[in-house]
Amino acid sequence: MAATIVNPENLVYSRPKGFTDMPSHYCPGCTHGTAQRLVAEVLEEMNILDKSIGVAPVGCAVFAYNYIDIDFVEAAHGRAPAMATGIKRVLPDRVVFSYQGDGDLASIGMAETVHAAARGENITIIFINNAIYGMTGGQMAPTTLPGMKTTSSPNGRDVETQGYPIRVSEMLATLDGAGYIVRRSLHDPKNIRLAKKAIRLAFETQVHGLGFSMVELLSTCSTGWGMTPVESLAWLEEHMIPAFPLGDYKIASSVAALKI
């Protein structure tokens, strides 16, 4: 059967042009890969691969510049929104985005994130919320759920001493500089499609000069969570979505009026 079907005429999907040939270092099933694939697909569809500049974080996505085939810089831990600000102000015709985990964005980099949104910087942030520090061995993040076990909360996050998870999208949506702030998830085909649409709209927000945009993506870390990749998707749906509801938190009227 294969032989007759495998020809260019019948091609439905292949590895995006915006991806390099390099295999990723992510753990099997890690949805960091899915998120980066969607970014590459959107930049290709918008025909802006050669004018985009990514800012990579410190975290598991530190090597993002090896995978998405565009210009990239690497920021110090948490400073990606500040670096993206500088690049965008010097090169306003480029499409500039940071790609950051929850430790990078909401712990050490919280100030940079909030102020970039408050200033209405015309940049985009792709925010990967996996409720944990993946790279360093699964420690508690600002997004770790109450009661969730991590290597630095081995008995489960105790809100009495360790506080509550931060809902970044809700918080940034209160800022007037924010043009487009939404939360999506990467746990099933339907939600992956919705995530891709949101990434597209975030980049369109920037291309049309409509202010700060961020897509928060609920993502898995099967290694940090101690589950198989398939179990992780179910865990995300069951536990993360109630704590971090999916939705549109800020769509400025100018963004809502965009015809794409």
Partner: protein, 84 residues
């Protein structure tokens, strides 16, 4: 007649995570236990008929390892016009 599809899994990228296997609507994928990739994973493959070329496996694959083909089968005019 359902569309006929086929996928190819690139062993350079596949890590045997099984996300495509669990997402595949007609359940025609499994890990190929006869094969090891250079990284030491059993890669995913089609093990029986029934692939429709829907590309849902490729949509969920974090490693962009899957290429999807679908044969465009034109229904005969009589069949298209028929039915109730």
């Amino acid at each position: 007649m359902p569309a006929k599809g086929w996928i190819e899994v690139n062993d350079l990228y596949c890590k045997g995570c099984e996300l495509c296997i669990s997402a595949c609507p007609p359940k025609v994928l499994e890990l190929d236990n006869e094969k090891l990739t250079s990284k030491g994973y059993h890669p995913s493959h089609i093990f029986k008929d029934g692939c429709t070329g829907c590309a849902i496996c490729a949509l969920v694959c974090p490693d962009a390892a899957i290429t999807v083909y679908r044969e465009v089968t034109k229904a005969p005019a009589s069949a298209a016009a028929g039915g109730d």
